[in-house]
């Protein structure tokens, strides 16, 4: 066996390395020194991110093609790295709190472990590796969700998460078993694709597709596989929620794209285009409809992220290079916008424990900067120019309409009409902060440096990512490089 292949796994290895370092430090360092866990991890990770972004990757397949390192997945890993870095920065304040004393290290270890899993999931080109990655990603998450074990919500959320997660992975396995039955005895994506392309449409294939879609849709929280989302987001510690909402969503979306376009590409027009069509409409609409009513900010963000997932899926249904690019871009923008919102939620939560939208009334009087950041985040999520959200939305719509099929135009129209609903509830937050005449509920306070740092990163991202077009150009370069490989089997 050629060990040099591991050199292709730089991102994974870096994450793993940091994981081990933190683990060792956390185990052997003194009580007092352990305070530095968070800072250590963050700094290391920051460095790691920079390293990854600058080492770049030379596209190659490893382990007989189970694991590929190609430019798209590399790009995504960079994006996710940035996201995780922000999450880490934002979590520092929370992990410094007293009741986290004992478990500080574990938080970071688990976080890194899930990230490792997601990387595998992204780079996998074989279903076995994919499943391993998926589980590696989702099991530590359960522990993370349960992290506030003193809070009841945390436990309930964890229970709900693990149960449904196991259920969904069971369904996924079932689906995969059918896939295996159809494939020529090999679970490499390309072999599956070949088999699907040669074999004719069969009920078994449809069931397989449906189950696999459900299995991954669970992580993406597509309707109707999303029901865990709201409760878990609400119950989990805010850092974990923000992590769930952006990072695992992003990685799952990418895996979804690869599996369906590459492995099942042959049946795109017959089968899964229409499955996804329905699912997307459901996701966007239901997510919005639920979000309208929410009062608890985290729950609200949960449903907003459900509908956002629908928009991300538009990139998949487009099933073209622009779609891939726009999806990556969307994920990037979504990371900044969402983490911006969560940063504010977390800052306020840490300081005052207030989590309801009504508590945000008159926020601009007491904490204008937080209100400002939140407003930008909301506008970006709603897709208002000149903020990044606008560009990600319109670009992803552009990718969907590329094929000029009337059905997809209708899909875009529905999505667009849904943006109005979403605009409504995002504006509700803005209204609470700026328009509501009440005196501020949240007292004026100075948020911690780490929080402010995180927030500034997000604000900068929200403002500039859209306007600074080279980012998109770079992504599209990346996805064009792999287009041949990705869309080889597209029917």
């Amino acid at each position: 066996m050629d060990y040099s292949q591991f050199s292709a796994m730089i991102p994974e290895l870096i994450v793993l390395g940091i994981f081990i370092l933190v683990f060792l430090f956390d185990t052997f360092a003194s009580e007092s020194a352990r305070k530095a866990d968070g800072m250590l991890t963050t700094v290391l990770f920051g460095l790691g991110t920079v390293a990854i972004c600058f080492t770049g990757c030379l596209p190659q397949e490893c382990f007989g093609g189970m694991y590929v390192c190609n430019s798209v997945s590399f790009a995504l890993k960079c994006i996710l790295n940035i996201g995780v870095f922000i999450v880490l920065v934002q979590s520092l304040q929370w992990t410094d709190s007293e009741d986290m004393k004992m478990r500080r290290g574990e938080f970071y270890e688990l976080l890194l472990a899930t990230l490792f899993g997601m990387y595998l999931m992204i780079s996998a080109r074989h279903f076995l590796l994919f499943v391993i990655g998926l589980e590696t990603a989702s099991l530590p998450l359960a522990a993370l969700i349960a992290f506030n074990k003193k809070h009841y919500e945390s436990n309930e959320a964890a229970a709900k998460y693990i149960m449904t997660a196991v259920f969904s992975s069971a369904v996924l396995m079932m689906g995969l078993s059918f896939v295996y039955g159809l494939s020529g005895g090999s679970l490499y994506y390309n072999d599956v694709a070949a088999a699907v392309a040669n074999g004719e449409m069969s009920g078994m294939l449809i069931v397989a597709l449906a189950f696999v879609l459900a299995g991954i849709g669970f992580k993406l929280s597509l309707v109707p596989f999303h029901l865990w989302t709201a409760d878990v987001y609400q119950g989990a510690p805010t850092s974990v929620t923000s992590y769930l909402s952006v990072i695992s969503k992003g990685s799952a979306a990418f895996a979804f794209f690869v599996i369906f376009v590459q492995a099942f590409g042959a049946v795109y027009p017959e089968a899964w285009e229409w499955m996804l069509y329905g699912i997307i409409i459901l996701t966007i609409t239901v997510g919005n409809l639920f979000a309208i009513r929410q009062k608890n900010m985290k729950r609200f963000m949960a449903f907003s992220s459900v509908s956002q997932a629908g928009y991300i899926m538009l990139g998949v249904i487009a099933a073209n290079a622009i779609g891939m690019t726009s999806m990556l871009f969307y994920i990037l923008v979504y990371i900044f916008s969402n983490l911006g919102a969560f940063g504010v939620i977390q800052a306020i939560g840490n300081k005052s424990g207030k989590l309801n939208m009504d508590d945000y009334k008159g926020l601009h009087k007491s904490n204008p900067w937080l209100a400002f950041a939140m407003t930008l985040a909301m506008f970006s999520l709603a897709g208002i120019p000149p903020f990044a959200g606008f560009f990600s939305k319109i670009l992803i719509f552009t990718s969907v309409t590329a094929s000029n099929s009337m059905a997809l135009y209708m899909l875009v129209l529905i999505a667009l009409i849904n943006t109005i609903i979403s605009l409504y509830y995002y504006l509700l937050v803005v209204k609470a902060m700026w328009i509501a005449p009440e005196d501020p509920v949240v007292p004026a306070f100075r948020s911690a440096c780490s929080e402010r740092f995180g927030m500034w990163i997000c604000v900068a991202g929200i403002v500039f990512i859209g306007l600074v077009s080279p980012i998109y150009g770079w992504l599209s370069e990346m996805s064009n490089l792999d287009a041949s490989q990705l869309f080889a089997w597209l029917g």
């Binding site: 229970a159 709900k160 149960m163 449904t164 259920f167 969904s168 369904v171 449409m201 009920g203 449809i206 069931v207 597709l209 449906a210 189950f211 879609l213 459900a214 669970f218 309707v223 109707p224 596989f225 029901l227 865990w228 709201a230 409760d231 017959e270 089968a271 229409w274 499955m275 329905g278 699912i279 239901v286 409809l289 639920f290 309208i292 009513r293 609903i421 409504y424």
Partner: protein, 642 residues
């Protein structure tokens, strides 16, 4: 001709308006008054110069072998709709415009002078003079218009100035509503005018009067025989344009604004609602007369409307007690007279004597009607009431007013040798020439005119003295007011001897007026009889009028209420248009359209509440949704595919 004078004629009034309007608040009354009067005086002088040069200089530019020419002194593009349809602001000089210049400036100057005394104590004196200047400007611009669109522009402007002046006492609700009524009614008529212009200009592809009137046949040809509802589009255009004229000249059924317009200051009524603006309709028809000639049906329409209006107004005038109202209705009836005269005019009938005579009457009427109004103003100034019931026996107290007023009455009654006799006689002659019915009918109206005018005259100056005179004694007005009366009275006496036919005819060729003895005597006799009757009834206080009134109460009441036209209009505008149409539309907008828009939002909210059960919180429900979701997905796809 040198263009400075024409430009100045337009420029001075408008600059006066701007100066007085913007700087007025800072000025003293005296200052403002003097400025206004001086401005108008200069304008008058200039206008006279221009008119006399035009008529009597004999310059080849104005008259070529006996035919008076029409010339555009200047004509600058103002707005080019298309290459052909160009609105220009210009100065058209021809017999009628020259004549109108004289009329307008004279009356306007008189009124300026008169107002100095009349309005002395009113607040907003400066504003008043500003508005007067604005009106003079607009009216002058109207008469010298080189193209129909310029005319329309100034047509609107005179409408607004009249609105402003009628509503001058803007604290009185009556004045406000009167001004509003005047503007809206005329605006409605202008709508007809506008559409007429649109139709005409679309087919003839020009606005220019010269182009239109020089060769009416081609205008007719250019319509390509297009017709609408039976009538040719040209007829439609002309009739619609005439509707605009009906509005300004208060022809039935658009006459209702004029009586109310008497809410304005009396000098204003004299200027706008007797002498100048109200004859704009006549002027418009005269201006486009050659075009009307090719569509005689339009002319017939004009004649009929005129005849009816003339009679109606005369009858109503017999039953009013407010002297200004009486004068207003007499104005309506007199203008109708001119309209009829125009309507019956044909080149083959004494080469369109009707045209000449109506212009003649326009001239003379302007003079003596202004005189009458100013006289009425003097009376009101003295008695502080509009109703002759408050007056009576005033001849002793205000001799100047009395004599001038008498002259005015005689003039309008058409008694030799006063101005009215000549013009009216010519008109009647023209009507008889066209068709004896018109002649007879209008002679009767002439009789009525004499009757109601002298009814008023006797009621005011004879009858019996009003007891109030004991406490404060009515007296003649100050010189600023008396002077115009005297001047105008003189004019009314001599104007008849102007050889009008030599100056103003439809085609510029001179026409030698010769009194038609038969017509003259009949009309004279009728007038004298009417006056006699009036004298018999109203000279001395007696019960005959009351008895007559009681003999036919309903008729009297109906006539006194102007045959309920206002009520009908009120019903249509308020009950139907405002209450039914507007209100229902507003309701529809709020409760249907807007409600639907809000409805979308409501529906969304409702659904979101309705489906919240999906998120029941129980893990088992979640996985059930999950599982059935997946299975359903598979099934649906399967069914769709296999």
């Amino acid at each position: 001709m040198d263009i400075t004078l024409p430009i100045l004629i337009l420029a001075i009034p408008i600059s006066m308006f701007l100066i007085l309007g913007i700087g007025g608040v800072k000025m003293s009354r005296k200052m403002a008054g003097v400025l206004g009067i001086l401005g108008m005086g200069t304008t008058m002088a200039l206008a006279y110069t221009v008119a006399f040069t035009y008529f009597f200089s004999g310059d080849s530019a104005f008259i070529v072998d006996g035919i008076r020419q029409q010339l555009q002194v200047f004509d600058v593009t103002w707005l080019a709709f298309t290459e052909k349809l160009v609105v220009s602001i210009g100065f058209l000089l021809d017999p009628i415009s020259a004549m109108m210049l004289v009329v307008i400036t004279t009356i306007s100057f008189m009124v300026h002078l008169y107002s100095w005394g009349y309005m002395e104590h009113e607040p907003g004196f400066q504003r008043y003079y500003a508005f007067l200047s604005l009106f003079s400007f607009s009216m002058l611009g109207l008469v010298v218009a080189t193209n129909i669109f310029q005319m329309y522009i100034f047509w609107e402007l005179v409408g607004v100035s009249s609105y402003l002046l009628i509503g001058f006492f803007y604290k009185l609700p009556s004045a406000v509503s009167a001004s509003k009524k005047a503007f809206i009614v005329t605006r409605f008529a202008d709508l007809g005018f506008l559409i007429g212009i649109l139709v005409l200009s679309f087919y003839t592809n020009t606005f220019n009067f010269a182009a239109l009137t020089s060769d009416p046949a081609s205008a007719l040809a250019s319509t390509g025989g297009a017709t609408f509802m039976g009538a040719s589009v040209l007829t439609w255009a002309l009739v619609l344009i005439y509707v605009g004229g009906m509005g300004k000249s208060a022809m039935m059924p658009l006459h209702i604004w004029l009586p109310d317009a008497m809410e304005g200051p009396t000098p204003v009524s004299a200027l706008i609602h007797a002498a100048t603006m109200v004859v704009a309709g006549v002027y418009l028809v005269a201006r486009m007369f050659p075009l009307y000639l090719v569509e005689e049906s339009a002319l017939t329409f004009i004649t009929c409307v005129g005849a009816i209006t003339a009679f109606y107004a005369a009858v109503v005038a017999c039953c009013q007690i407010d002297i200004k109202r009486i004068l207003a209705f007499s104005t309506i009836s007199q203008i109708a007279f001119m309209m009829v005269a125009l309507g019956v005019a044909r080149p083959e009938l004494h080469d369109a004597m009707g045209y000449m005579s109506s212009m003649f009457h326009l001239f003379t009427h302007a003079m003596f009607k202004a005189l009458l109004f100013l006289g009425a103003g003097a009376l009101i100034h003295a008695v502080h009431s509009n109703n002759y019931t408050e007056m009576g026996g005033l001849r002793k107290y205000m001799p100047i007013t009395h004599w001038t007023f008498l002259i005015g009455c005689l003039a309008i009654a058409g008694i030799w040798p006063f101005a009215g006799f000549f013009s009216k006689d010519e008109m009647l002659a023209a009507m008889f020439a066209n068709n004896w019915i018109w002649g007879a009918w209008m002679t009767m109206v002439a009789g009525l005119t004499a009757f109601y005018m002298f009814r008023m005259y006797f009621m005011v100056f004879w009858w019996e003295e009003n007891p109030h005179y004991k406490e404060h004694k009515p007296h003649d007005a100050p010189w600023q007011m008396s002077l115009p009366l005297i001047v105008l009275a003189t004019v009314s006496c001599v104007a008849g001897f102007i050889p009008f036919g030599e100056l103003v005819t439809w085609n510029g060729a001179p026409y030698h007026i010769h009194i038609d003895p038969v017509v003259a005597t009949t009309s004279l006799v009728v007038a004298v009889c009417a006056i006699g009757l009036a004298a018999w009834l109203y000279m001395k206080k007696n019960s005959k009028p009351a008895a007559m009134k009681n003999a036919m109460p309903t008729l009297w009441k109906a006539a006194n209420r102007r045959f309920y036209w206002d009520e009908i209009y009120m019903f249509i505008t308020h009950k139907i248009i405002f209450n039914i149409i507007c209100k229902s539309i507003a309701w529809f907008d709020r409760h249907i359209i807007d409600a639907t828009m809000d409805g979308f939002a409501k529906v969304t909210q409702r659904t979101s509440v309705a489906i919240k059960g999906m998120q029941s919180g129980s893990i088992q429900a979640y996985v059930l949704w999950y599982f059935f979701g997946a299975v359903l997905l598979a099934l649906v796809t399967w069914i769709c595919l296999l």
